[in-house]
Symmetry: C2
Subunit: 488 residues, 2 copies
């Protein structure tokens, strides 16, 4: 058990800034007051221990406040990706049996549509309650209690709800502090969505470290550069496409010395970008992270950035990494599946006992990602899970897109792969086989997908073929599709 | 379970300095190699999981190496105070049923005498083993395994062995990092003995943080000042008498900006000293710590040092403090017993079930210290346990000294109190009642004590009386003795 970390932080350093947005600045005392009020409002709406509270919101003070309010009631936060379609949202709400579904003005139409698909709870916003009921707010957090459920897609076509405990986030925060350091004047900029583990974990680190989170509603290169200059942001979490746009926008102007860490996640970074950062003295810390491990697992310190170009570095202190092939550890330099162990690893997927058992067999998280350790123990991630496409920091799982394509009456088979893209790093592309007699029309297929999938998942390119490469047992070989695509 | 923290640290940052002494500098790789060799030597001497290994040594590389070696075998370290008499050492060895007793050249005569008192194991030094046996060293540390047993004296006259787990030290290190910050260029100077929790915990923090411990064999004001200048020490742990001597020795020369924290423990600091530090810009962080909580429990940041003069500040992040009277929490400003809860609190005293149950009742460590919280929640320690005398950073428990005095054939009753002393902060003094017909001779009583007690425990002043103040139930009222002493 730990003391309720927001209450404890507000006791320790009530007047330090906790949250800075374009329009507001809250101290930890303010944040606690707001969170308590919000908790009473949720309680008036019958939210109780163990209930799932789904949140479909842009980055805002309210989102952070809600997270703490949900925590204090012993309920579970289910942050939803705002780019999802109403159908996808309805599926996730149903999957976690959401007791309450909270949205904001921007996302209200989507939310209403999701509710039309499958009616569920209330989406009234803002919540107004006259008299705070006297609800006991949790004074302590159990490390093994579930803090959030964050959906990650899998190979099955449907997303899985990754359960992350208070302990997962606590250890992740501690591991990050032991690794990146922890300075009294730190200010961590979040321009990634709070519904991603990368964004959400910053909101938690802020409370554990007692430092402000500078929160942007969405990524804007000029706004990020300005915040670094004017608000003395010391750490910023970005993906490669964001960093590239920041450098473009900035031109020749150097970054101030106060910027001590640019935490670069979301897949392998292009070498020219890393070289540009080195040349300009941008303190890039590459990281390999996973929703299932509450964000960062390994990082590469700036001093090793060029010597170990392309590496994701070494694990955070209490985390361990192994590379296995056929469940046996391989030697340095040999490729295999990346396994992760440590206290920030999820206890499993919500309501998916078999998938959890499989992913966590032997006490190690089987990431499905491919990589190797060099002779000094530096991790190189060669390929995210066989099939994972990382497009502008968002994960796209081919199986999910293929399932939608195959739901089209004209499509018999579909293979989705990632093809490289200058702006997004990669974008999804589809190779399909149509039924005999049908007419292939890429545009109408894309429209079909767009009605059912978040925009970043919709294949940018669609081509047709007569036969998809499969193994003897009939398993699709996406690697061959990818090779054919590049060749043809 | 955590990965073996020395192995993991040596993997993460093999080339960073780990330990710096006057004659040697070891990297984490070096430290691991030395510790492994030492572990094999201990294993050859039949040290096994759960065995107690007692160490009577001055501060040295060997001490640190031994700590890690003992850890890796799953054995328990029992650091012994080098100022103890052979009788006291023999008692502690016996109390923990030490399997092995390791000493160094300086302490060998004392060790030999202790062994004469009660023969026990081997004190051969150095240990030499030809071929390292193939012993499996622990690859993981269980958080609830006992790391060390450190004796603290109690009111019963005999010391109790405080068990400190790997988890206690881990959480203490993490709490300290979250509180004092954690900088890549940190160097923590230990000039306090490693057999105290304050010194030992620095050796552990060094490995968890990946920063060097600068280790001095003993406290020397000029050497500490020199290390701050020349070795860029950023944090130093001291007690008030040390700090006063450092300032004296330094004269007007300001401390460099690289010194970011002077962690001041070991009892309340005199106001003039704090004011002198404020005037000279010395970044003093006052701390309230306990062996039973693996060192720091609360600290006062420099920015509050003058506003909250005399306060020990607020608890480290995961720790909680309560003030109770008759087992009920009191209001802000009211005095009571200081209770501490959190993951760095000992699971109990070795082989002292009843004393442990009593000290930890209700899930809170009952420190016996008296204090209050002000309306902002800052802790003020008014009195260490009723009876505790802190003399130059060493704890002196009156009951232990009284027991020795009363063992003298001429002494019928004895009361030991602390009287203020310019050099040591406080020194023990005794008021005794001699048997009818005996002749009071302070010098021979002091000699009697010196043969049985560490020098810092021997009463500096001894006076005689006909009657000691007692309560109706016969309990000695040391406060009244102290008042009489000052008055008379």
């Amino acid at each position: 058990m730990l003391p309720n970390w927001l209450i404890h932080r507000a006791y320790l350093t009530p007047d330090r800034p906790a949250l800075i947005t374009a329009s507001e600045q809250l101290t930890f005392r303010d944040l606690l007051t707001r969170a308590q009020t919000s908790a009473y409002q949720l309680a008036a709406l019958e939210v109780k221990t163990g209930d799932a509270v789904a949140v479909l919101m842009r980055n805002s003070v309210e989102f952070v406040v809600l997270m703490h309010a949900v925590n204090m009631l012993g309920a579970t936060l289910v942050p939803l990706n705002t780019r999802l379609t109403p159908t996808e949202i309805a599926w996730q709400l149903d999957n976690v049996k959401a007791k309450l579904f909270i949205t904001d003005e921007d996302n209200d139409p989507t939310a209403q549509n999701a509710l039309t698909e499958r009616p569920l709870g209330s989406s009234e916003s803002p919540l107004v309650v006259d008299v705070p009921p006297s609800v006991p707010l949790l004074q302590q957090y159990a490390l093994d209690a579930v803090h959030s459920i964050i959906h990650t897609s899998g190979t099955t076509g449907h997303p899985k709800g990754t359960m992350l405990t208070f302990g997962n986030f606590w250890w992740s925060s501690v591991g990050s502090a032991l690794n990146l350091g922890n300075h009294a004047d730190d200010r961590w900029l979040a321009c990634m969505p709070l519904f991603h583990v990368g964004g959400l974990s910053i909101a938690i680190k802020s409370v554990i470290y007692g430092i402000p989170m500078v929160l942007h509603q969405s990524f804007d290169a000029a706004a990020v550069n300005r915040a670094i200059d004017e608000q003395k942001v010391t750490i910023v979490s970005v993906v490669a496409t964001m960093l590239a746009r920041m450098l473009d926008e900035r031109g020749d102007k150097p970054y101030p010395a106060s910027l001590r860490c640019v935490l670069l996640g979301g897949g392998p970074a292009p070498q020219p970008l890393l070289e540009a950062c080195a040349a300009r003295g941008v303190p890039v810390v590459q990281t390999y992270g996973l929703t299932e491990a509450a964000s960062q697992v390994a990082t590469l310190a700036p001093e090793d950035a060029l010597r170990k170009l392309g590496s994701a570095g070494k694990p955070l202190f209490p985390m361990e990494i192994r590379i296995v092939k056929d469940e046996q550890s391989v030697n340095a330099g040999e490729m295999g599946e990346i396994l992760v162990r440590g206290p920030s690893v999820t206890p499993g997927y919500y309501n998916q006992r078999e998938a959890s058992r499989q992913a966590l067999r032997g006490g190690w998280l089987h990431t499905g990602d491919i990589g190797y350790l060099d002779d000094e123990g530096f991790l190189y991630v060669v390929d995210r899970r066989d099939d994972l496409i990382i497009s502008g920091g968002e994960n796209v799982y081919p199986a999910e897109v293929e399932a939608v394509l195959m739901a089209h009456p004209d499509v018999v088979e579909a293979a989705v792969i990632g093809v490289s893209d200058e702006k997004w790093g990669a974008v999804p592309a589809a190779l399909i086989k149509i039924r005999d007699g049908a007419i292939f029309d890429a545009e109408s297929l894309r429209a079909f997908c767009a009605a059912r999938l978040a925009r970043f998942k919709v294949p940018v390119h669609i081509k047709a073929t007569n036969e998809l490469p499969r193994t003897a047992s009939g398993k699709l070989v996406r690697r061959v599709v990818a090779a054919q695509w590049v060749a043809g």
